[in-house]
């Protein structure tokens, strides 16, 4: 068995066992903390598809994360306030059903990624980084100055949304739901990476000219990957909003984009479980260092700097060795 497979199985086992154990011993705080890890990992897995597999360094994934969050906030707030969201062409009162919210979040995440991708994928390299960052900021300022949904203050949802057959207010049940989604998303991305589309995406990263020469248009491959990536991150955004029962423009901020990127890089770029490890490490550091000092971001900065300068390949690179290079 490859060492990476072993690490992946160990990580998954830990995600299954630790929260159940924490729940049994009454430490529900840790269950909620792990829920946060799992949801942020989903966002990271989404980014990793574009960044790791496709080499698209998007510094604007907060745009999709925020869109997902606001989809949840808007749908749930309309139902909560008894103000129908749509009266025409049909009556739609909003929704507090997670499957509905998730579906809408996926669709709007994909649409946002399609429009941002159509423009920004015309460029590459450093232009692409700056443009995705700028589009993320555009949505951030839009969310701040649009007064209908709370503007700068954000939106609070008083009761967590429902999922058929579960009581989502029980931490461990909500956690199980989130973990199921993470596993499904990981499975999807794994299948994508092995599919002919995934191979073409990897080829677009390594040598776009050759890919073009064999008759595959890199732009369309990249755009498709970007859309799937955005949709997954939007789903994570909707779930994250549900975890906090709160949406604010902060979900759109460039720091959020940076953090999602940090999950991917701390864990290991392009590795299937990289974002899972990265998110876990990040939240753990936030918890431990944040408890020690108000200025824990300084330590985070030094850790990141150390990872970039000296420990390339992230946590997965450390645990399972650097990936066999095909570049």
């Amino acid at each position: 068995m490859r060492r990476e497979t072993f690490v992946n199985i160990a990580a998954l086992a830990a995600l299954f066992v630790l929260p159940v154990w924490a729940n049994a011993t009454g430490e529900t705080y840790w269950v909620t903390l792990t829920t946060k890890v799992v949801i942020l990992a989903i966002a990271g897995v989404g980014l990793n598809l574009a960044l790791g597999l496709g080499g698209l360094v998007s510094f604007g994934h907060a745009a999709f994360f925020g869109v997902g969050g606001y989809v949840m906030g808007i749908l749930a707030s309309h139902l909560q306030d008894y103000v129908p969201l749509l009266t025409w062409p049909f009556l739609f009162e909003g929704s507090n059903q997670m499957p509905v919210i998730w579906l809408v979040a996926l669709v709007f995440g994909a649409l946002t990624a399609l429009s941002i991708g159509l423009l920004s994928l015309r460029t590459s390299g450093v232009y692409f980084i700056m443009i995705t960052l700028a589009f993320g900021q555009m949505l951030f300022y839009f969310a701040i100055s649009w007064p209908a949904y709370g503007g700068e203050d954000g939106l609070s949802i008083y009761v967590r949304n429902e999922f058929p057959g579960l009581n989502t207010l029980v931490p461990i049940e909500f956690y199980g739901l989130c973990l199921t989604v993470l596993v499904a998303v990981l499975f999807l991305v794994w299948r994508i990476s092995l599919s002919s589309f995934g191979l073409a995406l990897g080829a677009a990263r390594q040598n776009a000219e050759r890919l073009q020469a064999v008759g595959i248009e890199p732009f369309r491959i990249r755009l498709t990957a970007f859309v799937i990536s955005g949709a997954i991150t939007a789903l994570a955004g909707a779930m994250y909003a549900d975890l906090n029962r709160f949406v604010s423009p902060n979900m759109f901020s460039w720091q959020t984009s940076g953090e999602i990127m940090v999950f991917v890089i701390l864990g290991g770029v392009g590795r299937l479980f990289g974002p899972v490890l990265g998110a876990a490490l990040f939240i753990l550091m936030e918890h431990i260092l944040g408890g020690m000092s108000e200025f824990w971001h300084i330590y985070l900065g030094f850790v990141l700097l150390g990872v970039v300068l000296f420990a390339r390949g992230g946590l997965m690179g450390l645990l399972a060795g650097r990936e066999v290079s095909h570049d």
Binding site: V57, R122, T123, V126, I131, M261, F295, V308, L309
Partner: protein, 305 residues
């Protein structure tokens, strides 16, 4: 809309654009010469502002404060270049983004630790405060007018530096072919440190100048950084001329967007709705400008393909 309002907003847009240019020029120079994307540029802007506020508080002299902002930002820039940035030139953009993101965290939290979370205030000196009367009887703050003058003077100086001096020739040569100028005996690593410190000093100065109008606080640099990115994307990466044109375009678009859009929507909507839609669209206007430029010219107005 009355003429005086238009002139006033024109000057405001010019002032915003010129200050943006000081940050964008360093960023585009650093990218053009070293091929480095530097997210920590906004932190250097913040360092300049804090140094100016601290020195102004201690000495009471605005000129000293400006000198301090230049010196502190240049020193911080040179230090960071030697300790960290130097190792990133051969890395891919992802590594550069992440390492400079880490630098932002270190600089921001370090500044918060030193100065606290409350904003500092840097006062406009008495000899620059108050309005002046422009030809046509238009009143405009003297300080803002001074800023426009300083910014334009620096822009002209930068053009002369790049076009006429030996250093400028080396910088341009470094942009064109860094191996070749290293082979010709130019100390390339010194040149890089110099360019980085120069860009940092410009950012620091603009931080101090703007800090006297707004407040000096942690996190003030990042919005400017992102606007500077928009400017560079519009102007074309590596082009100082592009940075100037882009800055002025962004400055004017932003200023007039905020004034004109609510008015424009007011012609066919009720006032409160027009205000909110107009304000929301105005905050997006520069990004829409960027999108339009990208559609027409994906490498920016003056960028090389």
């Amino acid at each position: 809309m009355p003429t005086y309002l238009i002139v006033e907003q024109l000057l405001n847009g010019l002032q915003f654009g010129v200050m943006l240019f000081l940050s964008a020029a360093g960023l585009t120079l650093i990218f053009g010469v070293m091929g480095l994307i530097n997210l920590a540029h906004g932190s250097l802007y913040m360092i300049g502002a804090f140094a100016a506020a601290a020195v102004a508080g201690a000495t009471g002299s605005f000129v000293m404060a400006l000198a301090a902002s230049l010196a502190a930002a240049a020193a911080a820039g040179a230090l960071v270049e030697i300790l960290v940035i130097r190792r990133l030139y051969d890395r891919d953009h992802l590594d550069q983004v992440l390492a400079t993101f880490a630098l932002i965290l270190i600089f921001s939290e370090g500044t918060r630790w030193m100065f606290g979370s409350f904003p500092l205030f840097l006062d406009v000196p008495s000899y620059l405060s108050g309005p002046v009367t422009l030809p046509g009887g238009i009143q405009y703050p003297l300080y803002r007018l001074t800023i426009i003058g300083i910014g334009l003077a620096i822009a002209a100086g930068l053009f002369l530096l790049i076009a006429r001096t030996r250093i400028g020739i080396r910088i341009r040569a470094g942009e064109a072919d860094r191996e070749m100028i290293a082979a010709l005996g130019v100390d390339i690593s010194k040149l890089y440190t110099l360019v980085f410190a120069l860009g940092a000093a410009l950012a620091g100065l603009s931080g101090a100048l703007v800090g006297a109008i707004q407040s000096v606080q942690v996190g003030m640099g990042e919005p400017v950084l992102i606007l500077a990115f928009v400017v560079i994307v519009i102007g074309g990466i590596g082009s100082i001329k592009g940075a100037l044109v882009g800055s002025l375009l962004v400055g004017l678009t932003d200023t007039f967007g905020r004034i004109l859009l609510p008015v424009a929507f007011g012609t066919f909507m009720e006032p409160s709705a027009a205000n909110s839609v107009g304000a929301a669209l105005a905050s997006m206007s520069i990004y829409l400008l960027m999108a339009v430029v990208l559609i027409v010219r994906p490498t920016g107005l003056y960028g090389r393909a």
